[in-house]
């Protein structure tokens, strides 16, 4: 087969954007805190979460390519009006919490760079995001924030430079339960899985496939994007946990502030490391803000049958555009109260873990429907993995809130 250079370039660009776009505030908070609390003991959870997001993103992308349907079209068609509406409400609440947390993250990163007051930067940050959403094409948004987010790779360099105990880190890949404080350990395990498999990533990914007008021919591109992009993104999660273990656990620091996480890169790499870390965090949470706010608008528009998508200008999909504007204002109102974005992140991740089955079950059902999928319906590998992860997700959904209560949101 002839390799077309342009196609390869597009794939490479897409993958780079996916790496930069993988980590959001939930991954930042949970990976670093897990490292700072349990060292390398939770490393094994990261590949499980990454494989889960690969399985369901690939499936939802394939549904988008084969049928032109994004997730919430499928949710309503497969689960009916009542269950679909319940799923919609749950997903909108979780999305809004996540959006508020990401916006808080944007303001914190801007504050570290500029020293201006937090609330001023919240407002400026939201105005900046709204401008980007209003004028920049989706493809370019993904690139700008994805490539900017590549600055996060400084954490990978930091992780290596810190000279961690690799034998100890390797042992962390063997699943086990810590003897000291097992409840907190399980809370972190669920938080790590929830952060890696956040539902908005799947909403955004599948709607993005429809926006890019994927056809059945793009099934291969979809698979490559999901597997390579998320795997490499997962390496960043590992790096964050190593930094958490090697810097914060060693010094007994609990990284309760995003700025503290950035200091993890300063310790081995100095001022340049710190600057790259902050810029990387800014682009990562900024990009995640865009993904979450669009996901909220995608879901509502798809459930109600409105015109949607950024491939149209705002006037071409009016209620879709109005929805993301309103969501931005709501999220701004939440963080303006002064609620701690890191705390908000923990709630958002735990509640999204509860909402996971509502998203993933309909995708699995549609991906098995020959009327929609034709020859692209799930094969044995996708179905086996899909079912295994369905069990994982159900366990997470049931355990998330009790663990949150037992551990007082990870405080003890």
């Amino acid at each position: 087969m002839l390799v077309k250079p342009k196609m390869f370039l597009n794939l490479a660009l897409g993958i780079l954007a996916a790496i930069g776009g993988f980590v959001d505030i939930g991954d930042l908070v949970f990976n670093t805190a897990a490292g700072a609390t349990f060292g390398y003991q939770l490393m094994w959870v990261i590949p499980i979460g990454v494989l889960g997001i690969i399985v369901y993103s690939e499936m939802s992308g394939r549904v988008a390519a084969a049928s032109g349907k994004a997730v919430f079209d499928a949710v309503r068609e497969r689960t009916g009006f009542t269950a679909g509406l319940s799923a919609l409400i749950a997903s909108e609440v979780v999305n809004l919490l996540t959006l508020a947390a990401e916006i808080g993250g944007v303001a914190i990163a801007l504050q570290l760079l500029s020293g201006l007051p937090y609330r001023v930067l919240l407002v400026l940050g939201v105005i900046g995001l709204a401008l980007v959403l209003w004028v920049v094409k989706l493809e370019w948004m993904e690139r700008i924030f994805g490539y900017g987010g590549l600055c996060m790779l400084v954490f990978a360099v930091a992780a290596v430079k810190l000279g961690p105990d690799w034998a100890q880190a390797g042992k962390g890949f063997i699943p086990h339960i810590a003897q000291n404080n097992p409840w907190l350990y399980m809370y972190f395990a669920i938080g790590l899985l929830g952060a890696a498999m956040t539902p908005y990533e799947v909403y955004f990914y599948s709607s993005g496939g429809v926006e890019a007008r994927w056809t059945p021919k793009d099934v291969g591109l979809n698979r490559a994007n999901a597997i390579v992009g998320y795997s490499l993104g997962g390496l960043l999660s590992l790096a964050l946990m190593i930094v958490g273990a090697a810097v914060f656990l060693r010094h007994g620091i609990n990284p309760e502030h995003l700025g503290t996480i950035a200091l993890g890169a300063e310790q081995p790499l100095g001022g340049v490391g710190l600057l790259l870390a902050i810029v990387g965090i800014l682009f990562a949470v900024g990009g995640a803000s865009i993904d979450t706010v669009f996901s909220g608008a995608y879901n509502l528009a798809q459930f109600l049958g409105w015109e949607w998508g950024r491939y149209r200008n705002p006037a071409g999909a009016p209620r879709f555009a109005l929805t993301w504007l309103v969501l931005l204002v709501f999220a701004l109102a939440i963080v303006m109260t002064g609620v701690d974005p890191v705390m908000l992140t923990e709630y958002a991740v735990i509640f999204s873990a509860v909402a996971l089955p509502l998203t993933y079950i309909p995708i699995l059902l549609v991906a098995n429907d020959p009327d929609y999928m034709g020859s692209n319906k799930n094969g044995p590998v996708a179905n086996t993995l899909g079912l295994v992860y369905l069990v994982v997700i159900l366990v997470i959904a049931v355990a998330a809130i009790p663990l949150m209560l037992i551990t007082n949101v990870g405080q003890n």
């Binding site: 009916g80 509406l85 705002p314 006037a315 009016p318 109005l322």
Partner: protein, 110 residues
């Protein structure tokens, strides 16, 4: 496949007008003598679809009801394609009402 069977398969599917515009969903179906005679679309039909949550959503969404005779269906694939444009059926009014507001902001038509 009987018409009724087909009807149940399109419940909750996307409606597309003749230009491919997304203009609502199949919110319910009108059935007479075990035959689907019309597609029903609009928040006014939500309360009859489900209990409390449907009534709440209908209360928020308003009482708009649009009835599209079955003969207006041109094609069914993963969506339901209609023969005419959305405004001719009274569909897509929400989008049409919001559009002028957004068009006052520069760049809305980029």
């Amino acid at each position: 496949m009987t018409k009724l069977h087909l009807g149940h398969n399109i419940l909750d599917h996307q409606l597309l007008d003749k230009d491919g515009r997304r203009c609502g969903n199949v919110d319910d179906l009108a059935v007479e003598d075990a035959e689907v005679v019309a597609i029903l679309s609009g928040p006014g039909y939500w309360p009859q679809r489900s209990g409390r949550i449907g009534r709440l959503a209908g209360w928020i969404g308003g009482s708009r009801r649009v009835r599209i005779p079955w003969d207006e269906v041109a094609k069914i694939d993963s969506a339901v394609h209609l023969r005419r444009t959305a405004p001719e059926y009274g569909l897509g009014k929400g989008d049409d009402r919001v559009r002028p507001l957004l068009e006052r902001i520069p760049g809305a038509d980029r």
